[in-house]
Symmetry: C2
Subunit: 408 residues, 2 copies
């Protein structure tokens, strides 16, 4: 059902990362636990949901970030809105992970294991089942389990999301691999979305943090499926320092720009994969707003259009409905917007210019432009030089079906 | 399809208001033009859409408000995003109305006729067809045409919306009657919604304006169907000064509070009727947020919940999904919200207390609470004394069907 999302191929291990997966039985036989164990040299950075209802694992993961060398992830239950007992449950699973890792000679403790969860909200975890799965995962740690982990963290996703890129800098070839899970509730500021990336370069903690913040802004913070944001979202980046002769300390260091671009590319492709697999999506929609006075106003217009149910249903129907775009642009709250400078292009078809339906526009051309499953909506505000891009989907019957019937 | 919305009955004329309806042929034989002609003593106030893409009629109606004694309304074409030509088209129809009214001895001019339109955006009006209908409407002016007018202004509405109330104040019985059209694109700050109310009391312009602003705030500005706002919304109130011995000049005058309460009631019932007839609605949902520190934060939570596609699809599925409410409340942007003081009640069933699923809650009770078509969602923030209410609907397959297939 995903829109032009090929099954991941050629996913490469990252030196210094060992991964195990296992099934707790909560989702039948399917793996629902993934354990990431990192080399001691690792530094880890994270971006966490801004929801006031932060799930227990998010609270703990944030606290433990500085000392972290392990990620334990479960799908099926989000351990959110579970209060103090939820924190204890998450810690119990972290403790099992640390013990299992110690048993195979790895250094880990309660302070170094970050928990992550996704799934149903408001229910207690089946702690013993997940603990058993964590132990099993630890016993099967291997470098090439990225794709298996991508599968283990899925909820309503229809297929795993994983991306690998290489970049050669200063004579060293670095590998960056990432996985993500998404589906519904996707919107900026970290929605129900988990993304885990690692690279084998050495990056100092402050630089890693700054880099992650920057690349999340133009990847996971530029996607929206239904405007809903979740309690559990996290985007994590580990730098294992296994390749290269030094650690990057500052962004201006030779080669870091290339490495960052590559990290950025992986994050962007993962973010787009989440949209392509959005619940009920039949089209992948790029909303590009040009000619704004500021990034903020471009994004306001882009998100209002991307999240408008009337625009989304029109896109689902392949209806190049200028009226609905007007409506959405008009209510985006751009100060002193002059409608007579606004234009709309759908793929290569000019629908409106100077605030009016274009003389050259025909309904047949509009329908043809929307007939495919990749749509670029380009809105020109005609008042400045700033451009911003947001990725989203249409709104289909299947969105309702999935969300009216979903319960794990 | 509307949720518990009885067909309007007992709609009473308002002294000083004559109404004609006619068909332009644009919507087949159905009436799609309504003409309101007021007694010379009338004062008129209006609230207009805040969209940057204000439709031509909205721009003109706003300009003409002070001198207005006539409303001419068409459905089928919104005359929006039509630029300068759209303004000329609207004025041409106003001119026809003024001429037709002059011909039957009424005082009217281009300056006194306010135009209103609703329907498809971005297409030019069929001016001659509407002009002919306006002339026909003028020839059939009558006091008891409110319900016919309510039918003439419908677009995707499944039934007309009209409400009458009486109030006896200072020995005089005043009549207040109103009509409205809504359906999709309903959200505060005037969505694609037209509402026209008249009362036979005399109310000075400044007081009328202030009163309208106040009653719109707690009626039409408290409803949301899909979060989309339109280019054409207007809420108009005429005071014809045909009943009573004096004109109300200030809000503190004896009897005005009763009259205002009655105006408020009519506006609230019309606003609720719009929600009950929301596109694809299967439930009428009252979202009440209590215990807030401010009205603004209560409304932020109420609207975030009311507009969350995940909450709306859960309501459609009669799924008392605490997780989705958490998610929506959590992302509403209430500063320093403490999840452990938040509660949720669905009709009489306590779902969550202190941020956790209630000990007494059962899934059967939750499903039973949502089985009917009237749902009160009560969210307690537990941090203050303010309460706010918003009305909305669920999100169903039919919403997609209507909005993916709609084109007049």
């Amino acid at each position: 059902m995903a829109v032009n999302l090929p099954y991941p191929r050629g996913i490469k291990p990252v030196a210094g990362v060992a991964i195990g997966v296992a099934s707790s039985g909560v989702k039948g036989d399917a793996a629902d636990v993934a354990l990431f164990s990192f080399a001691p040299e690792v530094h880890i950075a994270g971006v966490y949901t801004q929801s006031a209802f932060k799930a227990a694992p998010v609270i703990l993961a944030k606290e433990k970030q500085r000392q972290s060398n392990t990620w334990v992830i479960n799908s099926g239950n989000a351990n959110a809105a579970t209060g103090e007992p939820g924190l204890a449950d998450a810690e119990a699973i972290c403790a099992s992970a640390a013990l299992a890792l110690n048993a195979i000679g790895q250094t880990a403790s309660l302070a170094t294991v970050q928990p992550f969860s996704t799934g149903v909200i408001g229910q207690r975890l089946n702690v013993p089942a997940y603990q058993a799965a964590v132990e099993q995962a630890a016993s099967g740690l291997a470098a090439d389990n990225w794709l298996a982990a991508a599968e283990a963290i899925m909820t309503t996703d229809t297929q795993p999301k994983a991306v690998t890129e290489n970049v050669t800098v200063n004579g060293h070839t670095f590998t960056i691999t990432g996985i993500a899970k998404g589906a519904g509730m996707i919107k900026p500021n970290m929605a129900t979305m988990l993304a885990f990336m690692a690279c084998d370069a050495g990056i100092a903690p402050a630089l890693l943090e700054a880099t992650l913040s920057e690349i999340s802004e133009t990847s996971f913070n530029r996607i929206s499926i239904d405007g809903d944001t979740s309690t559990n979202d996290c985007f994590m980046l580990a730098a294992t320092a296994q390749v290269g002769s030094m650690q990057f300390e500052t962004a201006s260091q030779e080669g870091f720009a290339e490495l960052k671009y590559c990290l950025q590319t992986v994050a962007e492709r993962l973010a787009q994969a989440i949209v392509r697999d959005g619940e009920g999506a039949t089209k992948f929609v790029t909303v590009r707003v040009t000619g704004g006075l500021s990034s903020a106003e471009c994004l306001r217009v882009a998100y209002t259009v991307a999240e408008s149910p009337l625009v989304k249903t029109a896109l689902f129907a392949s209806d190049a409905n200028w009226g609905r775009f007007c409506m959405a642009i008009g209510r985006a709250g751009v100060e002193d917007l002059d409608p007579s400078t606004v234009s709309l292009r759908l793929n290569e078809v000019v629908v409106a210019e100077s605030g009016l339906v274009s003389d050259t526009y025909t309904e047949a051309a509009g329908s043809a432009a929307l007939a495919g499953d990749e749509v670029v909506v380009e809105i020109g505000l005609g008042r400045g030089a700033i451009t911003e891009i947001v990725w989203t989907t249409d709104l289909s019957y299947d969105y309702i079906k999935i969300n009216a019937e979903y319960r794990t």
